[in-house]
Subunit: 223 residues, 2 copies
């Protein structure tokens, strides 16, 4: 049998690649609710990421309570006030003009956490690189993001938050790591390029510049 | 316009969901080479993950040199000897029966790294949670894994490695984090379920058990 007998049909490949290329970090949402069956599909997709030692270290806190969202929003505001001070001049003006979250507008917020204690003290594949549980959780988040995209849902990752305050607000136990705080809902639009690229905040790096051969720094021959 | 106007067609959704559900951590490979255009598509998919502050902190070291692969394999062997000691009795026997890497058999190994210094000392969204650059790199890895799957390629993540030794072997600078060491090639097969589930190493957790409402520990009403 042919080596690539497991490849997908052209249209199904396109489904995956379109999800990857049309996914955006969304910050502007419509108020429309997310149907339960759609949310279930997106969470189940996240849950089917691979994980070190089949540990499945993630949990998903689905936040819809307005008071809790308001607390997270206040957390963002104060963290962002500090973060904004890192940028001055034109960059500072641009920073302040950017909308960096959609906590209150989005119908659903999701905190994705990592429980390093799941499966006990020794997990296959994790002893030498303990952070692999968090890495697995991030793979689950990417699955969630892509599944949301094919469902027509936007997701935005809010990382301008004080983590201890977030844990307190969501009553997350000490040993649990909140890896991502996500806003999810139907978006006003999906931009054709990332917002930070469109606004000139940073440039897309040509992928060839990021590829090495055999050793760090070794450039491949061009072709 | 309808709120979900951005959703994909049924068959394109299926492309994404099939990639997610049929992706496996592959350790048994055919020797067939990976065509350059296929590799390019997979790496470009990785490069189009979102990243904190549009930082694109990743690099991809494509390893095909047999001597370098042999060095990584020796690294695995010694790390695995130590790791195996964590499990005894039946669990130890099972551990020792598992094939946990495909470093030498796979035609391509890929080390995916994270450069925390990219874009300078202050990156939008990263100041409050510095690890977000590594999180972004993991999202890129999941894109790579899913793109490989639709191309009929298997990917296996080897985490049983001494990181310092790996950095030395690949001449990775001190400030660069090797996030994942991946083996890639056409697989002997894609298992219908994860190998660690099939062999009874660990069980799939029902996804409902992982979902909370508003606060940690709050179980949603069932429906």
């Amino acid at each position: 049998m042919h080596k690539s007998r497991h490849q997908f049909s052209a249209i199904k490949k396109e489904g995956l690649y379109d999800a990857i290329y049309k996914r955006r970090d969304v910050r502007e949402f419509l108020p429309d609710p997310v149907p339960k069956d759609v949310l279930a599909r997106v969470l189940n997709a996240a849950h089917h990421a691979g994980s070190v030692g089949f540990m499945q270290p993630w949990n998903f806190i689905i936040i819809q309570d307005e008071k809790i969202k308001e607390g997270v929003y206040q957390n963002f505001l104060s963290a962002n006030q500090q973060a904004a001070q890192r940028f001055s001049g034109d960059k500072g003006d641009l920073y302040n003009s950017l909308k960096l979250e959609g906590i209150l507008e989005s119908p659903i917020n999701i905190c994705v956490t990592c429980d390093s204690s799941r499966l006990g003290p020794h997990v296959l594949g994790k002893d030498t690189i303990p952070e692999t549980d968090v890495f697995s959780t991030c793979c689950a988040i990417q699955n969630l993001w892509l599944a949301a995209r094919v469902e027509g849902l936007g997701v935005g990752w809010v990382s301008i938050l004080n983590v201890n305050q977030l844990k307190e607000g969501l009553q997350i136990p000490k040993h649990i790591i909140p890896v991502a705080y996500l806003c999810m809902g139907y978006p006003q639009e999906f931009l054709d390029r990332p917002m930070l690229e469109k606004t000139g905040w940073a440039k897309r790096i040509p992928v060839e510049e990021l590829i090495f051969t055999d050793l760090w720094g070794n450039k491949p021959e061009r072709d």
